[in-house]
Amino acid sequence: MPVSVQPRPGDPVITPALVAEHGLTQQEYDILVAMLGREPTFTELGIVSALWSEHCSYKHSRPVLKTLPTQAPYVLQGPGENAGVISIGDGLAVAFKIESHNHPSAVEPYQGAATGVGGILRDVFTMGARPIAMLDSLRFGSLESARVRYLFGGVVKGIGDYGNSVGIPTVAGEVMFDASYEGNPLVNAMCVGIMHERDLIRAKAEGVGNPIMAVGARTGRDGIHGASFASEDLSEASDAKRPRVQVGDPFTEKLLLEASLELIASGHIVAIQDMGAAGLTSSSAEMAARGDVGVTIDVSRVPVREEAMTPYEILLSESQERMLVVAKRGHEEDVRAILTKWDLNAEVIGEVIAEPVYRVTEGDRVVAEFPGSRLVTECPVYTPEARESDAIRALRERDVASIAELPEESDPVWTLERLLSSPTVASKRWAFRQYDTTVRTSTVVPPGDGDAAVVRVRGSEKALAIKTDCNGRYVYLDPRNGGRTAVAEAARNVACVGGRPMAITNCLNFGNPKRPEVFYQFREAVAGMGEACRALGTPVTGGNVSLYNENPAGAVYPTPVIGMVGVVESLDHVTRSRFPGREDAIVLLGEPTDELGGSEYLASIHGIVAGQPPRCDLERERATIDALLEAIAAGLVHSAHDCSEGGLAVALSECAIGDPERLVGAEVSLDKWSDLPLRALLFGEAQARIVVSTPDPQRVLDVAARHGVPAHTIGSVRPGSDALSITAAGRTINAPLTRLARAYHEAIPRLMTVGAAEPAILEQHPKPAEV
């Protein structure tokens, strides 16, 4: 029998204006009315506005995401759960996921970034995995701006303070700076966890009569409508209806982490899920939909932090450090006992029911009811028009080879120093020095020592190699090629430390999908990613989409951040990027080209973002990775570093000066490529290139040849020397190591100490001085 849903006394009446304010189109509203067979109550409108927001529903992205490869024999859990899971053998599995917190971080960088870390940690430990590593992928405007310094400083401190407190090492990431991210920084956090395959648990409500329990922190009015907020352009308008900032409590998170893992191991529960975006609403609706069961929730039983909270507020609150648990009937007390041990609450707030409805009550008054899981499954899906912007095509087609050199460039050392001190290239130690990188005593290769992080897996000879990457400039100028390149670079970085790339998670940061040029970028970039994942054998196990990354100035660069996980088969294979303290030969896998498009050289020396970005040849990438891994396994490789922003000259410099306490000289000859323009040879960003140092160059060349990878011995390490000397086109460039080191290591610290608004000054962060 259909129960009657009445509006609560005091509920606002549903007007077109109110509907619009909830981000629903008229058409979506009609679908809702048709589904209900009546007008929704205010509470129901709130529920739907959250579930049908871009953030929760993926309504503009789902069809495109479906084209990504997700299969491999070792994939235990693909997209659709809180995190992806792959098997690494020995009965062990790895859960990992990346998530964005861009909009909250633009409003309140410290709390925005901190709660981003908290959310992604929960996504991983709710799979039954113990988090063992964090990564952060960040994009900001220019550090010349005080506002940007405030955002960068606040975000880094927020990530550090949260992860450090919970006790998860932050071991890798990247930071890039470009005007396109001004006002809309990107803050993507990735978490990697380890578990026994047998402990894998899914967020799927099951078992009629099983109690649904709210676990962890109490519910307050934090971040109500954060999910819809995350689905809007950042503008003055969103300032007004800004949700109250969510404040993270890493201490409670740590207790929740331990309690949840104990709970999962205890066998007292059937499902557990984070109350993340759209809080109680999305967690309960999604768990019900996955299990294809009905649920009923009584909001009056939810532990609250503030007085007189309405069902609407309780359902949509995004208070942090909360979990929704489906317990086994009769085990409520066992669940409560475990939570109590960790000083946390657990309250029964609802039940799994046979009747195919999603019902919310307040005491015995029904305040919301939807038929079955249609609420989740019948969310409208859009495939907007896609058209490339003529302006961007023109930029790509621009002939950048003809751009005149600056007079100063007659001295390539000047150019090299400029590149090394460009914040995008320069050492990020200022950031990761604030991250606990060694807690858990498993970090084999910490930030800055290798192209990816290496974290050992206790109780096995294996280790994990992990890294995030994406060059948004490449994607902007050529989305498909850029999407491929993002995956390829992440794979290359993982291979450089000795890891076999296994699978990816991804965070798709794009602008407003309703604009054809943006949706074009989205569709093409994802297509490119898919091609690369197929070619490199790294399926997609999950990810996150963040759209509407815009500000009055326009959209950010399309930035599909790739989080790659690889397996290092033996700890003997672990390889770092610095030159060793011995006279090794230097071998270049891959070849330079005349490509300059989209390069850091054009951007930071000429202030130009244009041209065809370096072509990504996936067959070549794969062969290069295979060759490198074979050489590493054969014990032939003492160091490996790929060429990315800044090209070969920057890569060689990083190998020489990466460790400020141990500068190592080198002597390199690039004469065999004298036909190439010098600047392309030194600073071009041709892909699929890796700088390797080896005691046995011939065997490395043989391995490369067998894989059809071009390779050349280009010089040797000179531990005694105090310069990096490069001979090219008949002339010799002598770059003093101390100058290169100063440029590379001091650039960001210098920038971060200018100006007033040093975010580190106060524990809570001072408002930036507007400039």
Binding site: E108, R221, D222, V245, D343, P766, K767
Partner: protein, 85 residues
């Protein structure tokens, strides 16, 4: 021109979660201070300001709070005292 000692109290906004206050309240309870609730932990800043008079001094400090000392997104501030020193 004279010198004033100005002090400001900065505390988490009403309704904003204050994990520190929560932890302190719980600690106090376990120490048999059962009679305490709603603990909020903020910052206390004292400084010397040169100004023509007290009103100007406190006005200056307001500006400092708006610009740097307080984060309006999560904090409220209040000039606690202005004394000629």
């Amino acid at each position: 021109m004279s010198r004033f000692r100005v002090s400001v109290n900065i505390s988490p906004r009403q309704g904003i979660l204050d994990p520190q206050g929560k932890a302190v309240a719980e600690a106090l309870h376990s120490l048999e201070f059962a009679d305490v609730r709603d603990v909020r932990v903020g910052r206390f800043i004292v400084m010397q300001v040169d100004a023509a008079d007290g009103a100007t001094a406190s006005q200056r400090v307001r500006e400092m709070c708006d610009k740097l000392l307080a984060n309006p997104v999560v904090e409220d501030y209040q000039i606690a005292s202005v004394e000629e020193s």
